[in-house]
């Protein structure tokens, strides 16, 4: 029997804690994260898979959560910006570098940008400027013009 209104149990590990929720199949992961879990650091920009503001890590991979169904994440481990540096702790090195190098203005893109930078640095521990720009190609920033973002990332590499 096909039941469109049926609710599905979704169990995820989110920022280290296990949660089970009942959702409709059509619920987007980004809505589960923001509305059901109250983790509003993950933003919705374009809602059309282009801007990367909604980027989170699913099983360690940077993913646009506006283009994933919550049911598809059942069983996965998810990290959002709140999991990068829990409230009250000091900033993660990527966040600190963004702060220091003025790599954000309005900050709307920043949470998603940082999730992409974490993946970039895992895959290219010593990236060239080309690698950096290619690595953040899925994140649009309307404010900074990207230069300071690139400088922030380069500063992390220079520190080793």
């Amino acid at each position: 029997m096909i039941e469109a209104e049926k609710r599905h149990a979704v169990t995820i590990e989110i920022n280290g804690s296990r949660r089970t929720l009942e959702v409709e199949a059509r619920k987007l992961l980004v809505h589960l994260i923001r509305d059901d879990l109250g983790l509003t650091g993950t933003h919705i920009g374009c809602d059309t898979s282009q801007c990367g503001a909604c980027t989170v890590e699913i099983d360690g991979e940077a993913t646009k959560s506006c283009t994933v169904l919550a049911v598809m994440a059942d069983g996965a481990s998810i990290t959002t910006i709140e999991g990068v540096s829990p409230a009250g702790s000091s900033l993660d090195p990527v966040q600190a570098a963004f702060h220091e190098h003025h790599a954000l203005q309005c900050g709307f893109c920043t949470a998603g940008m940082i999730m992409s930078v974490r993946q970039l640095l895992r895959q290219h521990p010593d990236p060239s400027e080309d690698d950096i720009r290619h690595g953040i190609a899925g994140n649009i920033c309307r404010c900074t013009g990207y230069h300071n973002i690139v400088r922030a990332i380069e500063s992390l590499v220079a520190k080793g």
């Binding site: 599905h8 409709e24 059309t48 898979s49 169904l69 598809m72």
Partner: protein, 284 residues
């Protein structure tokens, strides 16, 4: 944007996926990476009653480089195709093309099978699998068949896949030693898709082109082999003059697509230019 309501189920095997599709072929849709389908659902351009998630099907995963052929499971993501060292050694065109698809996040989710089955007229993999003379393994309730990549694409978003069939894998014959490859495209500045994209493979034997094979995407309503250029160059040296003539002939013989992104005249011009550039890169 919120899709219309649907039900969702995970299939554990190809047989189970086919069984689920057969119960309601018009109302059901497979979902792999979801990076084409979910945007379509959000725009309510499609509203299936059931999504069958195939991502957990082990027999559709993995890259196996064997002695005479290479098997790529349909669920292999663009990121996996980019990262695989054995595949890069055998067929470097995969890394070259994967690097030009979308962005890191999309490459983490999108699959080669989803791209081929979806048959967007501007998608990249269709050109690559045509140039590599791949065969597509298609599973149905009655068994499995293979279709040559050049015969798979029928029209915009249309292939020879039936409504309850699953694209299981891509099989590519190992290229002869010394084969050179290239993929290049004119990226649409907003979407990143190919306005025109050219994949080509050739072996240069005693100064002349042997086994030249070309796949073209973006230019027409579906990807197709660049046979006109390949036939003109067979047994000829890849000289600047021969390449220019081959590119001109291919462009003149192609009925190009016209849409709001690019006119047919513009696509025909890009087709000539990109074919020339791809072949010059192979000759270098």
């Amino acid at each position: 944007m919120i899709p219309a309501a649907f039900d969702y189920i995970r299939a554990g095997s190809i047989a189970e996926a086919i069984d689920l599709l057969q119960r309601d072929p018009d109302g059901s849709k497979l979902v792999a990476g979801g990076h084409t389908l979910i945007p379509t659902l959000k725009l309510r351009l499609a509203s299936p009653a059931l999504l069958v998630d195939i991502r957990g099907i082990a027999e559709m995963k993995g890259i196996a480089v064997n002695e005479d052929s290479i098997r790529i499971g349909a669920l292999t993501t663009h990121a996996e195709l980019l990262a695989s060292e054995p595949l890069h050694k055998a067929l470097p065109i995969f890394r070259q093309a994967a690097n030009l698809i979308a962005d890191p996040q999309v490459r983490n989710r999108g699959t080669i099978g989803g791209s081929l089955a979806n048959a967007d007229s501007a998608a990249d993999w269709p050109a690559v699998v045509i140039a590599l003379k791949a065969e597509l393994e298609i599973a149905s309730a009655t068994g499995s068949r293979r279709v040559a990549a050049r015969d798979f694409f029928v029209d915009i978003f249309s292939t020879t896949l039936g409504p309850s069939e699953v694209l299981a894998a891509i099989h590519i014959p190992c290229p002869a030693a010394g084969t050179r490859f290239t993929y290049r495209k004119i990226r649409h500045p907003a979407s990143g898709y190919a306005v025109v994209g050219i994949a080509a493979a050739v072996r240069i034997n005693a100064g002349v082109a042997a086994n030249l094979s070309i796949g073209i995407t973006g230019a027409a309503s579906h990807a197709f082999p660049g046979d006109i250029a390949a036939e003109f160059l067979a047994g000829k040296p890849l000289s600047q003059g021969n390449i220019e003539e081959a590119a001109r002939l291919q462009s003149a013989a192609t009925e190009c697509l016209s849409d709001r992104y690019a006119s047919a005249e513009y696509r025909a011009s890009l087709l000539g230019t990109e074919t020339r550039r791809a072949l010059l890169a192979l000759a270098a």
